[in-house]
Assembly symmetry: C2
Homo-oligomer: 221 residues x 2
């Protein structure tokens, strides 16, 4: 049976965005704050370093039962026994990844457009990374923003769990959840935060707030 | 049983070095000229493109029984059913690669120094890529040249098959073989050649010449 993961607060840990701190230091703090899943993403390092960093994160996450997902690199995921991979539209095709990793691996897919979101209904993935929800400077290779409306429309069409990403912080995370996201993913909001534990805790609370229902009505005139 | 490969003439196919031609066009010509093994190396492309290029090369090589080896990326090798991987000192550790790919995969390792060559005796690899034998502009991250003397010294110490790489052409390939190499690897000498078929054929003849024994003595005074 496929393992279920809790995508409520999904940290995309990018070593280059950790403000000079070791990524494992940031991840450890974020775990204390309530992060429920961690993706390691490093597009710049050697394979050797990717494996070494992934091994350190695996050592942090495994005792806590928090899944480790590796961006793009199935080989790195396999080498460290990670829980799965996150694939972009230019990464390994999902069909090949599922064949190589087997039915128990977590496989996530980035969808940048409604068309990609629709196509994903045919694919054996565990969740979709939907982004950017809001404008962001972290990823520049994306096109238009989904906005809460786009996310809501995708929610109506998709059979998959949805994780919003892009420009999400504690101030708008509840809106993303209300629009239908099963969780929110962040890079800088935690990696670059002065206090990653507190940033994670605030985001986690915002997700809970979003799940509790619509915002209180504005007082009428 | 481990599959045996013929490393006599080893083409490292780098798409960026093919003078604007599709890499499969260059590889097809080189196969006609007598290349015995092909490595695909692309450090710059997306995973998706790496897989697609590897699939096209696999389609060329498989009918001819010529092994396809993928540089660095075990995931790409697995996705296309390649014969193995070539690993640098900053790539996946050999132990992890062997564990993931199994006993039948071809695994090559680059050794840049005598120390690395000695350490490799402890590793379960199929061959060593020994380079640079001569000065080269293709790889700039390497240190001192091995020269034929260094290669000869490694030959005396190593239990592995040795493939020389770096600055090798039809004019010096015989010397590399005489120094103890089981084969020669080239990038630009074939990829950038006006006529890759002819370049390969000339290199192949030079390897045969080297195997035939020492060069004819200079006429004495």
């Amino acid at each position: 049976m496929r393992r279920q993961a809790d995508y409520s607060l999904y940290l995309v840990a990018v070593p280059q965005f950790c403000a000079g701190r070791p990524v494992e230091e940031v991840v450890a703090a974020a775990l204390d704050g309530g992060v429920t899943v961690v993706q390691l993403r490093d597009k710049e390092c050697t394979t050797r370093r990717y494996v070494e960093t992934a091994e350190r994160l695996s050592g942090l996450l495994r005792p806590r039962g928090v899944p480790l997902i590796i961006n793009d690199r199935l080989d790195v995921a396999q080498a460290v026994g990670a829980d799965g991979v996150h694939l972009g539209q230019s990464d390994m095709p999902v069909v090949a990844a599922r064949r190589l990793l087997g039915p128990d691996a977590l496989i996530g897919l980035s969808v940048d457009t409604p068309q990609q979101g629709a196509t994903a209904n045919e694919l054996d993935v565990d969740y979709l990374g939907v982004g950017p929800v809001y404008a962001t400077s972290t990823k520049r290779d994306t096109t238009a923003e989904w906005g809460p409306e786009g996310l809501r429309a995708l929610r109506a069409e998709s059979r998959h769990l949805l994780v919003g990403i892009g420009g999400i912080d504690a101030g708008n995370a509840a809106d993303v959840v209300r629009a239908g996201a099963d969780g929110v993913a962040v890079v800088s909001a935690i990696c670059a935060a002065d206090d990653p534990r507190r940033a994670a805790a605030e985001l986690r609370r915002a997700v809970q707030t979003g799940r509790a229902g619509p915002p209180p009505a504005e007082p009428g005139f």
